[in-house]
């Protein structure tokens, strides 16, 4: 018997989650019946080769995509029953996204890119606060083209956390960065996870990054291969890849 008092609350839960891409000629199973739980305050790393279904899972959890079969819950809310409008509201209220290619709006400065979120969030921090957290308080008025890759990704993180999201979903956040800049990004993620208790899921190709996670989930061919819990976590600055 587990000690339920110490068991953290479940933020995401999936049941037989399946996603099929039907191109007309072939059916590709991106997810083939995934059962998974993500716990409150945990930093989970999702590992696996390309096409193993990690990004598809993240997109469905974040309400960006629909499942073909199976069910997904965010706390007590069943996402798989929601329409597009409700999913938009769900993203607006609870989810912060970080992508491999930053996806900053080129015509907006760092501060304005963050404001894009704070404009519509219910209880956001100011763009300045968010940028301070990722250590970019001094480059707020620069446009994306004037920032390095690592800085751009940190702006993207600031943008994701500015709304004080309950969950942070990161798809290859260091994928386009070298190891040194990647560490800065991971440090920012770790700090947010620790200080704000934000439930965080990070997809990565770099297996070393698993060492900073509470839990590591490995994907293989649209299924969960293994789940392991790190008894001791490394700090990002101690990781190299």
């Amino acid at each position: 018997m587990k000690d339920t008092a110490r068991e953290p609350a479940i933020v995401f839960r999936t049941e037989g989650l399946t996603k099929v891409y039907d191109t007309g000629e072939v059916k590709v199973y991106a997810l083939a019946g995934v059962d998974l739980e993500l716990h409150e305050g945990e930093l989970t790393v999702l590992l696996g080769p390309s096409g193993s279904g990690k990004s598809t899972l993240l997109n469905i959890l974040g309400g960006l995509d629909h499942a073909t079969e199976g069910r997904v819950w965010f706390r007590d809310i069943e996402l798989t029953k929601m329409g597009n409008r409700a999913l938009t509201q769900f993203r607006r209220d609870y989810v912060g996204f970080i992508f491999q290619f930053y996806n900053l709006v080129a015509s907006l400065s760092a501060r304005e890119n963050v404001a894009l979120v704070t404009d519509i969030a219910a209880d956001p921090m100011t763009p300045e606060e968010a940028l301070d957290i990722v250590g970019l308080g001094h480059r707020m008025d620069h446009f994306p083209a004037e920032l390095s890759g690592g800085e751009q990704q940190r702006v993207a993180i600031a943008r994701a956390i500015a709304k004080r999201p309950e969950v942070l979903l990161c798809d290859e956040p260091t994928g386009a960065l070298d190891s040194k800049t990647g560490v800065q990004v991971l440090e920012a993620l770790d700090r947010i996870n620790t200080e704000f208790g934000t439930t965080t899921a990070v997809i990565t190709h770099a297996a070393e990054i698993r060492k900073m996670a509470h839990r590591v989930i490995r994907f293989q061919d649209g299924r969960i291969g293994s789940v392991e819990v790190n008894e001791t976590r490394l700090r990002p600055q101690d990781i190299e890849w």
Binding site: L64, D93, V95, F99, S107
Partner: protein, 787 residues
């Protein structure tokens, strides 16, 4: 300002060149709509107000001479509200200091004060003393053109006696908003005046004591105009009636109707062309932006912007473009309207200013502008809304190129790769390529449809003056005169040749179709005034039957050999049936010709004439004019040289202005379409083109691919533009055609060449602007960016 709004304005600023090109095309549509529809409303309202205030009559009729007691009977016709009977007449005026004579249209003023209908509006001075025999009021334009003030004296040859008349004031009347003299093609305020004279003195002068020769009446609400006209005709019949008619045949009113019809067809035909092009361009540009910002759209949705917010963002971009276009269009349209109002002020005599395009028209113009831009953007905006966020975040699949028959055909031609790229791109996006070509074709069409006008008017002048009316002057007699009058006229100084002609008001009928016309009788040997056939050769008047102009034959639905019933409104007012002897060409009025002798036979009378056509010795023209002023029994003179000069001068002025406007419009369309299409291609193919540059292609070779496609489309657009232009010209000819005049459809090779030259030059300039961007392309940067 919210971040999304900042993005909007920055995107707008970045796209300024493309946005401006679109905005200017939209501005053309908005301004032409504003002008044509605005002036249509303004002219309609102004005329209606003037008619109402000055009680313009509903029904008009002329008789030879009817007793005044008949007025009570006319008033008793069911449906008649008010009746005004009066004396009118036409006389030659001798104006002080003028060699040429002028024509005066005399109208009686009732003794009791102002008339009850067609009330003249005093503009200066006073009305004549009812008992005075030598006091008159003249119409204001006539006074202004000749510089007359109250107190000035002119002379009139009334029934053979020349009398001095003192001008006591000037006035305007709703009967002569468009003031055109008998036989004139254009208003001639210097040579034609409206003259109001107290009834007793006018009646005495033209021998109408106790009688009237002109009646006007208004109808009660709900009265049947046709029945009243029939009843009026029946009453007036014994007194030499010429057939009552409604406002539609009242000359001044009909001219304004013609102008209104033109304004309306302009509002219907031209703005939709521009709005259509705007929709296409906005669609192309916003569609491209949505494609380029695919990942940003995904991002906006990922962070919680709703589909509606995202699509509104792109709609708003089109609205910004539209705002620029609408501001420019409203400014331009207001300016055009002012210009047109000035033109109207010169041609139409209104007591108040016409220019007041009302607020509603402005609102409709703006709404149309916004709707156009939104319509153009809606497809792309909806695509942005529909794009699932997960899909939006991943790069788009490369466009699908497949091998088709077209490719096999290309392979056979053994073309270079760049040329294959051009042709394949066109075949890959046939719809877009087709619309681009169509837009350019419309630019060609606009030029064809404006340039044809000059040729058409040349043709009109050639036919009307150099073929048909070769006489130098026309003398209009106040009453039909016997043939001997010709000998008397021939003795006037300077007259080298003289021919008689006669005119008979008549109603032509074929079954239920009928038309009121003037049948002109010509002698068989007429050389000065000739009838021109469809082949532009002179046609002698037929021994038997009637020649009809094309439009008249079409309206009556008759062909040569068919019979038409002729109800003469002159002489014994008899009805007879004659065959249609042939169809002839005529651009002015509804022409019907018969042989003079044939007409005299039908009228059972000896040879008569109503008009004398003259050839003059130019050296003796002054003596001729002096003699004409003293000639009794003359209702008017027309100097055809003056008429032609006035006509050409006015036309040339208008053509110069409209050519400038149409060239500007065509250039805007061309630049708008070419620049946007080339710019979008540059954006879509920047990577391809940069790759080629890296592979060692020169700037020239690479721009060949970019500009080559535009060039192919521009060339394809030319023949299409000629066809569309011909159709547009035909539509304009149909829109302008009326019973008063019609414009021939003359399309020369020069017209097509001119249209194509303008469009080719404009598109070359636009393409070069884009090429400059290509030359500055940062190769590395382009290759690094991820689509």
């Amino acid at each position: 300002m919210r971040a999304l709004e900042k993005k909007l304005f920055r995107d707008f600023r970045r796209l300024w060149a493309q946005g401006l090109a679109i905005a200017l095309v939209l501005a053309c549509g908005v301004s032409i709509f504003l002008m044509s529809f605005g002036m249509f409303v303004a002219l309609t309202d102004t005329r209606a107000a003037y008619y109402e205030r000055n009680r313009f009559a509903d029904i008009f009729a002329q008789v030879r001479r009817a007793p005044r007691s008949l007025a009570a009977e006319i008033a008793a016709i069911e449906g008649v509200r008010t009746v005004e009977v009066r004396v009118t007449g036409s006389a030659i005026l001798d104006l002080p200091g003028k060699i040429e004579s002028a024509v005066g249209q005399f109208i009686s003023l009732p003794s009791g004060g102002l008339p009850r209908l067609n009330v003249p509006l005093l503009r200066s001075g006073r009305f004549p003393d009812p008992l005075a025999t030598d006091e008159v009021v003249v119409n204001e334009p006539f006074a202004q053109a000749n510089g007359y003030q109250p107190g000035d004296v002119i002379h009139a040859n009334l029934n053979g006696s020349v009398r001095p008349l003192t001008i006591t004031g000037t006035a305007l009347t709703p009967e002569f908003i468009y003031t055109i003299g008998p036989g004139d093609m254009m208003p001639d305020n210097e040579g034609f005046g409206i003259i109001w004279m107290p009834e007793p003195s006018l009646a005495a002068a033209v021998d109408m004591g106790g009688a009237f020769n002109d009646v006007a009446l208004t109808l009660l609400r709900g009265a049947n105009a046709a029945e009243v006209i029939d009843a009026l005709d029946a009453l007036l019949d014994p007194y030499g009636a010429q057939g009552a008619h409604g406002r539609d045949l009242q000359l001044s009113n009909a001219f304004i109707d013609g102008e209104l019809k033109q304004l309306r067809s302009m509002a219907y035909v031209l703005p939709p062309v521009f709005f259509g092009i705007t929709v296409f361009l906005v669609n192309m540009v916003i569609g491209r932006i949505v494609a380029l910002e695919r990942s940003e759209i995904g991002l906006m949705k990922a962070i919680g912007y709703s589909d509606t917010e995202v699509s509104l963002h792109y709609l708003a971009l089109s609205v910004l473009i539209a705002t620029v276009g609408i501001i420019a269009g409203v400014g331009l349209g207001t300016w055009f309207s002012r210009g047109l109002a000035q033109l109207y002020a010169a041609f139409f005599n209104f007591p108040y200013l016409i220019f007041s395009v009302n607020a509603q028209v402005y609102i409709i113009s703006c709404a149309l502008g916004f709707a156009t831009a939104a319509l153009g953007a809606i497809r792309a905006a909806l695509a942005a809304a529909r794009l699932p966020p997960a899909v939006a975040m991943s790069p788009p699949a490369p466009p699908r190129y497949t091998h088709s028959l077209f490719d096999r055909f290309l392979a056979l031609l053994s073309l270079g790769q760049p040329t294959i790229m051009i042709l394949r791109n066109i075949s890959r996006w046939p719809f877009r390529a087709g619309l681009t070509a169509l837009g350019l074709a419309l630019a060609v069409a606009v030029l064809v449809a404006s340039a044809f006008f000059e040729d058409a008017l040349d043709e009109m002048v050639d036919t009307s003056f150099y073929l048909a009316n070769r006489q130098d002057a026309m003398l209009i007699l106040s009453q039909a005169a016997p043939r001997e009058a010709l000998q008397e006229i021939a003795r006037l100084p300077g007259v080298m040749q003289v021919e008689g002609a006669q005119f008979h008001g008549a109603i032509l009928r074929n079954g239920h179709l009928e038309k009121r016309v003037a049948i002109e009788g010509r002698p068989a040997d007429a050389e000065l005034a000739q009838i021109v056939g469809k082949d532009k050769r002179p046609v002698p008047p037929p021994d038997n039957g009637v020649l009809l102009s094309e439009r008249l034959a079409w309206q009556l639905d008759v062909a040569p050999g068919d019979d038409v019933t002729v109800e003469f409104l002159t002489g014994r007012r008899e009805t007879t049936t004659v065959p249609v002897a042939g169809i002839i060409k005529s651009y002015i009025g509804l022409a019907a010709y018969m042989h003079s002798e044939n007409l005299d036979r039908l009228m059972r009378r000896s040879e008569r004439l109503d008009v004398a056509n003259l050839m003059l010795d130019q050296a003796a023209e002054d003596e001729f004019h002096a003699a004409v002023k003293d000639l009794p029994g003359l209702a008017g003179t027309v100097m055809l040289g003056d008429t032609l000069e006035a006509f050409q001068e006015t036309i040339e002025q208008n053509i110069d202005i409209s050519t400038v406007i149409y060239v500007a419009i065509a250039v805007l369309i061309t630049v708008g379409v070419t620049y946007n299409s080339a710019r979008i291609q540059l954006s879509e193919r920047a990577r391809d083109l940069a790759s080629l540059r890296i592979l060692g292609f020169t700037n020239g070779e690479v721009s060949y691919i970019l500009i080559g496609e535009t060039a192919v489309l521009v060339l394809l657009a030319q023949p299409l533009g000629w066809v569309l232009g011909s159709a547009l010209a035909a539509a304009m000819v149909a829109g302008f055609e009326s019973d008063l005049y019609s414009i021939p459809l003359v399309l020369n090779r020069d017209t097509f060449a001119w249209a194509s030259t303008v469009v080719l030059i404009a598109s070359a300039v636009a393409a070069l602007l884009v090429r400059r961007r290509l030359d500055r392309l940062d190769l590395i940067e382009v290759m690094k960016t991820r689509e």
